[in-house]
């Protein structure tokens, strides 16, 4: 579905990505992991076209999309959900969601999808008339994922969907991502919550300083001591322990 070949990109003169290679198979869930500031979000922006490539190419569904405008890529079914907190603050929740379906012409199906998003995230139904600028952090996160879904994507790229969410919601979100994947949507998810991400995904990449440092089957990575050392030091893994004690 998505093929990233030797991508270099960055901001202005500053090069962040230095030759990234990745593949996301159709219908699969792939996760991209890495420490703070290693270039995960930058890679997603390069794929969705928010920043230009310096070198390399990106193929989506076999089509070279490197030269396309963001909205053109989006029309092909490549949808990105950015790193939280980027809803339209002065619009209501419902308007935000409807915007997600902007490129679609089938009104009836759009409404059905709206219902589906409300089923995934019932809070949003309660808040449908509220301005999204006043939502709590977690609510906004749900809103932007829901909005991504409204576009009826072939592939969804999620940037840290579980950040700043309550533990219970984290599982819900991941379960929902899984359900979304089951409906045939290809998923690329960037995460800090390593354990959950690797449970969810079939395949994982670990990025460091703008290059892919390690990759492999998620099942293998989760038990790989090297990964554990650099990532599983904290967060959910230890939460379990803390709770047990």
């Amino acid at each position: 579905m998505l093929q990233i070949n030797d991508v270099h990109a960055g901001y202005g003169n500053l090069k962040i990505l230095r030759g990234v290679n990745m593949q996301v198979p159709t219908g699969g869930i792939v996760t991209l992991l890495g420490g703070n500031g290693t270039g995960k979000s930058t890679l997603l922006k390069a794929v969705s076209g928010l920043i230009p490539l310096m070198e390399g190419e990106v193929l989506f569904d076999g089509v070279a999309i490197s030269k396309m405008k963001p909205h053109e890529r989006m029309r092909l079914g490549l949808v990105q959900v950015t790193q939280a907190k980027e809803a339209y603050p002065a619009m209501t929740v419902e308007e935000n969601l409807v915007l997600g379906a902007y490129t679609r012409r089938d009104r009836a199906r759009t409404l059905a999808d709206l219902e589906r998003v409300f089923e995934f995230f019932p809070v949003l139904r309660e808040r449908r008339k509220q301005l999204s600028g006043t939502l709590s952090g977690g609510e906004v996160q749900m809103l932007v994922i829901g909005r991504g879904l409204m576009a009826k994507p072939k592939m969804l790229m999620l940037d840290e969907p579980s950040a700043a969410l309550a533990p219970k919601v984290v599982l819900e979100i991941f379960a929902n991502i899984n359900r979304i994947a089951k409906t045939g949507v290809t998923i690329l998810v960037v995460e800090q919550n390593v354990r959950m991400a690797l449970i969810l995904a079939q395949y994982g990449y670990i990025i460091r300083d703008g290059v892919i440092m390690m990759e492999g089957e998620a099942k293998k990575l989760i038990s790989d001591p090297a990964v554990k050392e650099s990532f599983l030091g904290g967060s959910v893994a230890n939460t379990a322990k803390a709770l047990r004690n």
Binding site: G35, N36, G37, K85, V123, Q130, T134, L135, S136, G137, G138, E139, Q141, E160, A163, A164, L165, A166, P167, K168, V169, L171, F174, A175, N178, Q192, V194, R195, M196, I199, L200, I222, S230, F231, L232, G233, G234, S235, N238, T239, A240, A242, L243, R244
Partner: protein, 266 residues
């Protein structure tokens, strides 16, 4: 004597009751956790305490034996209540040093007109303060970056600076709103160290909101749990994490990898 006490604290936005009759006490020199589902009102609670929002009628907030209900934010800050924000809100164009100097503002000794009449005194005092703030920057590990604008810091350094700015106020109490969000696991560990050191070194009382349970569970003496604006539980970490109401509303069941995978597939 509690350092901070709220009674019947309420706040509604239009039809939404964001905080509903919360009474809470924080004892001096403790670390107090505040957890709860998203949208349960934790940040709103902080906003009410620090005067960013005005509470509804009937609420009562007392800090350090002074009633501060409905007082303006700067007044409350002057009483010694300091905080960080979920979205940091640093002064992006100011240098790192200036950021902490602004934090020191309530303790400025000269009047705001002094630069006109008594420039020498202003400079003398500023020099003293600057030295002091430099020490603080050394403590949080940003001394090297004192001169660069805050906007040029990396994500993790920004969180540190936000903390530094809050401490520069020499507060009696520090409110931390999700200090660990977005930090990689390694950085979360050093955050916990920092919190404990702060408490000791500055004899601070700290209230921390955090979703990364490890942080609250291992640093807090007491934890309060909010849900839909109401306090649903309070006690030691041990008590809270076994409270069925908290598990139901917030924690969820503790699960092994396989169970999680099964739950996802369900």
């Amino acid at each position: 004597m509690a350092l901070l006490e709220t009674r019947n604290l309420s706040k509604s936005f239009g039809g939404l009751q964001a905080i509903n009759d919360v009474s809470l006490k924080v004892e001096p020199n403790t670390v107090h956790g505040l957890i709860g589902p998203n949208g349960s009102g934790k940040s709103t609670f902080f906003n009410l305490l620090t005067g960013v929002y005005q509470p509804d009628a009937g609420s009562y907030i007392e800090f350090d034996n002074v009633e501060v209900t409905g007082k303006p934010a700067h007044y409350i800050a002057e009483q010694g209540l300091s905080r960080t924000f979920q979205l940091l809100r640093l002064y992006g164009e100011l240098s790192v040093l200036d950021n902490v100097l602004v934090g020191f503002h309530p303790h400025t000794k000269y009047s705001s007109f002094a630069p006109f009449f008594n420039g020498a005194e202003v400079r003398r005092q500023d020099q003293i303060v600057k030295d002091e703030m430099f020490e603080l920057l050394e403590f949080i590990g940003l001394a090297e970056h004192a001169e660069i604008p805050a906007a040029e810091l990396s994500g993790g350094q920004r969180r540190l600076l936000a903390l530094g700015r809050a401490i520069a106020m020499r507060p009696k109490m520090l409110l931390l709103d999700e200090p660990g969000a977005g930090l990689s696991p390694v950085n979360v560990d050093s955050l916990m160290d920092t919190i404990m050191t702060l408490k000791e070194r500055y004899e601070l009382t700290i209230v921390v909101v955090e979703h990364i349970l490890k942080v609250v569970m291992s640093t807090c003496e007491t934890i309060s749990v909010l849900d839909h604006g109401q306090k649903i539980s309070e006690g030691t970490p041990e008590f809270v994490k076994n409270d069925p109401a908290v598990i139901e509303a917030y924690l969820g069941r503790e699960m092994a990898d396989e169970d999680i995978r099964a739950a996802m597939d369900a």
